[in-house]
């Protein structure tokens, strides 16, 4: 199954991510309305739509090209904090990916993408950000691969971990991003970036299904 992680797979991931973001656009914006500025769904929808356009206009010829192009587009077109963060994630993931991509290589590259987000945002798990979904996903992925799981299984475990991580942000108090200005009042709401991260990792599993 290791031939699965080719250019087409990553193109499919981006298409599925764009679709799920479009579908959950209003929910994401609603989460952001509670503790932010009510634009996260719109931001990501615009960003992933532009990713789709860029990937059509300049067809990439390698997984790295898909991811770096997607990341660059997100940085340039999202407009909110999630743009540079997701952009750095995909760019770093793309740059770290060995050719040909193996499940273990992907897990390592994914972890390195998450690290780029942590570095840029100076955020750690527990700060009620996208990291709270991405970091558990990275760990689940690594562990699954180490246990010999195939991509499909590994991505499913990552998706579940991301989803749980996103829900686990509800009782947290935000320490980074706009929501951190709310202090105590950020408690009781799911972080929009963690929610979108769960969707993006879920579409990774979907792309492998």
């Amino acid at each position: 199954m290791s031939g699965m992680l080719g250019t087409d797979f990553f193109l499919a991931w981006m298409t599925l991510a764009a679709g799920t973001v479009r579908l959950h656009r209003d929910r994401l914006t609603g989460l952001d309305a509670a503790i932010g500025d009510a634009d996260h769904g719109a931001n990501l929808d615009r960003g992933f739509t532009e990713v789709g356009k860029a990937l059509t206009e300049w067809p990439p010829t390698s997984p790295a090209q898909v991811l770096v192009s997607a990341g660059t587009t997100l940085i340039r077109r999202v407009g909110g904090a999630s743009g540079p963060l997701y952009g750095s994630f995909f760019r770093q993931l793309g740059k770290s990916l060995d050719v040909p991509a193996t499940p273990a290589g992907f897990a390592a590259a994914f972890a390195s993408g998450v690290l780029a987000v942590e570095r840029l945002g100076k955020a750690a798990q527990g700060d009620k950000t996208m990291i709270d979904a991405l970091a558990p996903a990275a760990r689940a992925l690594t562990q699954a691969v180490q246990e010999g799981a195939d991509e499909r299984k590994a991505f499913e475990r990552a998706a579940r971990a991301a989803e749980e991580g996103a829900k686990a942000t509800i009782p947290l108090r935000a320490r980074k991003g706009r929501a951190s200005y709310l202090g105590e009042r950020s408690i009781g709401h799911e972080d929009p970036g963690a929610a979108s991260s769960a969707l993006i990792v879920a579409s990774l599993a979907e792309a492998a299904a």
Binding site: D37, D39, N43, I75, R76, R77, G79, G80, A81, S82, G83, P84, L85, G87, S88, L120, G121, G177, R178
Partner: protein, 124 residues
């Protein structure tokens, strides 16, 4: 001279801060605004930041002064060690202090530390 780019979510805030900064530091100091998203709405645009950096770059380095959130994150992605540097300083006060230092011929490190001093400067 060191150039300054004021990066904000809000095109109006960046433009007004540039105006005020020029009023205090003088018109010669290269200061440009990078505010709003690509369509001029609330948000941050890398294209606008890049254009502003080009506008103020005289070869002596450029200081990026963001207001908050995505302006900070986007500006961080544009850092080029020793050439394009980010300042974590109060937006208006830091910009004024930086512009005065730049206008006085300070080098990039000096302009950055002038901006950082604005943190402790008392208004009263």
């Amino acid at each position: 001279m060191v150039g300054l780019v004021l990066v904000s979510h809000s095109a109006g805030l960046a433009a007004a801060a540039v105006e005020l900064t020029r009023g205090i530091a003088g018109r010669e100091t290269p200061v440009a605004a990078a505010g709003g998203d690509d369509d001029g709405g609330l948000g941050v645009s890398m294209d606008r930041i890049e254009a502003a950096v080009r506008e103020v770059d005289q070869g002596d380095g450029v200081l990026l002064i963001p207001d908050l959130g995505s302006a900070v994150l986007t500006a961080r992605l544009m850092e080029q060690p020793g050439r394009v540097v980010l300042a974590d300083v109060p937006f208006v006060e830091g910009a004024i202090a930086a512009a005065v230092a730049a206008g006085g011929g300070a080098a990039l490190a000096g302009v950055l530390s002038a901006a950082e001093e604005a943190r402790t400067y008392r208004k009263l």
